[in-house]
Amino acid sequence: MAAPYPPKPIRIWVTPPGPNPWKAVFLFEELGLNYELKPFRFDDVKKKPFIDVNPNGRTPAIEDPNTNLTLWESGAIYQYVIEVYDKENRLAYDSFHERHLCNQWLHFQMSGQGPYWGQAGWFQHLHHEKIPSAVERYCNEIRRVLGVIERVLADKPADAQWLVGNKMTFADMAWLPWNFRLSEVMLLSWDEVWEGLPHVRAWHEKMAALPSWQRCIEIRGRLMEAQGLQWNGVPKGIETFTEYEKKIAEGEDTTALQH
């Protein structure tokens, strides 16, 4: 077996339910990097020790003992890992032009996908009252953004169905974890999600089938189970997210409720 690379494992802090921590793990898996997961409960994102790792209290965050650097925000982590550890440019380009185009799509994912998919999911599932106009606002935005990618991919040759150039890069990978949840987010069947978006669907499904992503799903499943979480991230024994948040605010031990 080849020596682990980098020599010391990079620690990735993850809370299992949300898509963003898995965006980081996906990249580590795909590059075959030496990492260790630091799974913890959502209850503790705003508490020590994690709040000292990321002042914003959100996952993922990484600690790299090889460079003695702590980083948060999944997009910043992507750029770092690619630049420092993808020396052969397996998932990137070394040409200046393509490098910036990859970053462009990564920024679009960070500002255009994550926040809106997240708001749709919130109003669809986690918020206690139904506000149709809010659900509609965010589902429309999802459709619009997917439509942008559809047009871009449709204009590209069949053997280059990737956002930049003719191979999968980190800019494509960044989109996968949230899109993987689209059925839940939009409350639609898988076929309905992709209606009118054949190129985006093919692009997504190609990535979802990768062994690296399959491992992410499998690890996530195990951690969800170990933390006793329901599909929506709420611990078993608690009805709603509102109730969960209330218990966290009151400092209640939500692990105790499962037994």
């Binding site: 914003n56 925000e73 990564l106 920024h107 679009f108 960070m110 500002s111 506000i131």
Partner: protein, 253 residues
């Protein structure tokens, strides 16, 4: 050097995202041309613009690339990374690639792109533009904006330079500035954030920022500090109609 001459062309309007780029260009002292895009007339949805940014949003930028052919860029964060990578060789508002500060600037740049911008944008939407007043949604996004300001406040309170990262003003500060300057429009007061307030003025005092914030027209967000809720609401009424129209048009596509 055989490198092709740059030819920066910025397509922008007077928004928190737009002025990030003009402020950066002014800070760098790099020449650029400007085309004012009137987003209220949906110029950014016209085919020629979609050729530059398929997402139909400002800012967008074109340049002559080092190989002599054109490059088109969109997403303000990505444009900022491009500009400092190519033009900030003296590291006026950035740090050398690979340094600790370089990566820490990236934390805040992405934090602004994925957190502060979208969430404060939603506060603007529900507080000013939505056809119905949904108190829950207004509260949700104003509270989140306030939480994000608090994160910045804490960072700035620990900073010896008064800027977000290291010993100088960087693209991280420039990216956040227009949003924080627009806090009142989102209905969030800066009264509880003394370090953030001081930072706002510190960045504002920079000549490059002062020149860049008025591109392509006068920056008026700070004047909202002296307006009442009613006055801002009345002003929002003017734009509310086109926001609704373009949302409806987008939903059909």
């Amino acid at each position: 050097m055989t490198e092709a001459k740059s030819d920066i062309h910025l397509y922008t309007d007077q928004t928190a995202n737009g002025i990030k780029i003009s402020m950066l260009l002014e800070e760098l002292g790099v020449p650029y041309k400007v085309t004012a895009i009137d987003i209220s007339k949906n110029t950014q949805k016209e085919p020629w613009f979609l050729e530059i940014n398929p997402n139909g949003r400002i800012p967008a930028l074109t340049d002559t690339f080092t190989d002599g052919s054109p490059i088109r860029l969109f997403e303000s964060g990505s444009i900022m990374q491009y500009l400092v990578d190519r033009y900030d060789t003296e590291h006026k508002v950035s740090y050398p690639r690979g340094t600790r500060e370089y990566w820490e600037v990236n934390n805040w740049l992405f934090w602004q792109m994925g957190g502060l911008g979208p969430m404060q944008g939603q506060a603007n939407h529900f507080a000013r533009y939505a056809p119905e007043k949904i108190q829950y949604a207004i509260d949700r996004y104003q509270n989140e904006t306030r939480r994000l300001y608090r994160v910045m406040e804490t960072q700035l309170s620990k900073s010896t330079s008064g800027y977000l990262v290291g010993d100088k003003c960087t693209v991280a500060d420039l990216a956040c500035w227009g949003w924080v300057a627009g806090s009142n429009w989102a209905g969030v007061s800066l009264d509880d954030f003394p370090h953030l307030n001081a930072w706002l003025d510190r960045v504002l005092a920079r000549p490059g920022v002062e020149r860049g914030r008025h591109v392509p027209k006068k920056h008026t967000a700070l004047e909202n500090r002296h307006k009442t809720e009613e006055e801002m609401d009345k002003e929002a009424g003017k734009t509310r109609a086109w926001v609704q129209q373009s949302m409806a048009a987008d939903a059909k596509k």
